[in-house]
Symmetry: C2
């Protein structure tokens, strides 16, 4: 699983800080998550192939998470895109994008499919044969969802030596991979686990930005491999965090700990802080390991 941080700062883009956007590659698929202003340039800077992006997930309609989307949609059109583009976003975005295209008289040549999110409970919003994506309802000033990306369990792996030794016909391999016991060429029942190994372990990623500290999301995050949780503020600004429905690094770590995640990645930093290491230090007092997001940083996670 590969995570490319295009931007990990809150509020307004500056010369050296980009608003939220990231690319997740999991189970052979690529997903763009959030799309702050400048995302298309950061995609180019990080050499992400535009044509690989078929699904975009938008957490909420604050500008620092979505103002780059109209430009990206327009650029796809100018590049001659023909592939469908699916956008999973709060209700309302479709109306804005449609109005912008109408006023610019610039309709896409490709099919733009909006999946409007309105549910306040977690729902499965996308799946293919290898991955599923669920919403994580968050607690922010406007309707906001995080997203949980998880690989589906694969098939059981055949131990070919044992399979051959057990004299099982090739016609039963599919059943074996699916976990069934089968009959061998002599009519004897072969117990599945005597000739197969468990499927490859699956990996999962949860994106939670923007949100106040909310224990409600913990069941959804249980045991995920990587949790990206916003930490707009340090503890000394807890009052601002509460007021603006954001979280501190400590709070992000508290969620990580209670959900028993493997790794916590912090992001959505306020640009008021000079030293981001303070975020890591505060979080590590509660949970470890903690990673800091950084614009242009690429994380590789293995299971």
């Amino acid at each position: 699983m590969k995570l490319t941080i295009l931007g990990c700062y809150s509020a307004t883009p500056k010369v050296d800080t980009n608003p939220t956007s990231q690319v997740l590659e999991i189970g052979g698929s690529m997903f763009l998550v959030d799309c702050g202003e400048g995302t298309q340039v950061e995609l180019r800077r990080n050499k992400v192939k535009f044509s690989s992006i078929k699904h975009i997930f938008i957490s909420h309609l604050h500008g620092d998470h979505v103002f780059g989307l109209p430009g990206l949609i327009s650029t796809f059109r100018l590049m001659g895109r023909e592939t469908d583009l699916h956008i999973y976003a709060p209700k309302g975005l479709k109306e804005i994008i449609t109005m912008q295209m109408k006023l610019a008289d610039s309709w896409t040549n490709y099919k733009l499919v909006f999946h409007e999110l309105t549910s306040k409970i977690s729902e499965l919003v996308y799946e293919n044969d290898k991955v599923e994506v669920h919403t994580i309802p968050l607690d922010h000033r406007v309707y906001t969802n995080g997203f949980l990306f998880k690989e589906k369990p694969g098939e059981r792996l055949l131990d070919m030596q044992l399979v051959q030794k057990a004299d099982i016909d090739v016609a039963y391999f599919k059943k074996l991979k699916q976990g069934f016991d089968v009959m061998n060429n002599n009519g004897a029942t072969i117990e599945n686990k005597t000739v197969t190994k468990p499927p490859k372990p699956t990996i999962s990623y949860a994106f939670c930005s923007d949100t106040a500290y909310s224990e409600k999301i913990i069941p959804l995050l249980q045991d995920v491999d990587v949790l990206y949780h916003e930490s707009t503020f340090l503890d000394k600004h807890i009052d601002l965090a509460v007021k603006t429905r954001h979280a501190t690094a400590t709070q992000a770590a508290m969620i990580a700990k209670q959900a028993n995640v493997k790794t916590l990645v912090l992001g959505h930093f306020s640009t008021r802080y000079d030293n981001l290491l303070d975020f890591k230090l505060e979080a590590e007092a509660v949970f470890s390991p903690v990673e800091l997001a950084a614009d242009g940083k690429i994380f590789h996670f293995v299971k």
Copy 2:
């Protein structure tokens, strides 16, 4: 007169090329003209004080001229702006911006005043005591205006030696500056031009992007000091220029020549070209002097 080019490329922003936006300082006022994606970052990079921007002129609603505006409006809010912001733009933009603010539940604390443009003939859209701004109706795929910024003529300048020699009372100085003949202390009529000098010469700037070659605009551009005219294409792509309602460098120069402007600045380059000097060469075959816009370039023009 100072012109800061924030972006001068067409279509999509790339790592080293920004879409259209520029800052014009004329007659003591500062105007932002167009606002492609990333404009707020370019304003920071070029150290333009955000608080100096009180009037924004938008030529048309194609993304490369306006997708940076929602973010800039939002950033002004986050910075605690209180001053009114005036936006001169085609009808429709107000609706988009309002919808975005509504969905983000993020209304500005300052007053946002939209001046919706719909006229197909030139009109005066802004003036203060020193400057006036007129629209220049352009010929593009959607409703588009260029903008003509011109200093108002100042008052006539008193030649104090001659004024005193003519024995004119100070009470008449205002009349003299306004060009009237006055009576001196002996009751004699003093002809204005015998004691005054002409006002300081005024300077003017015309922004024409995006547009097909259109001779209709020539009367509006007559004798302007600086004409910024789009030249998306070189001559070899004249077919594309015609098709997309854009202009070539040669066509921009033909307009400059016919309007008898002093200086032509070329911009809105397609990113397909490696060597922008070709634009200058093609234009100079028709008109000179020709300047090439460049992101981050600052022009100082004097009269």
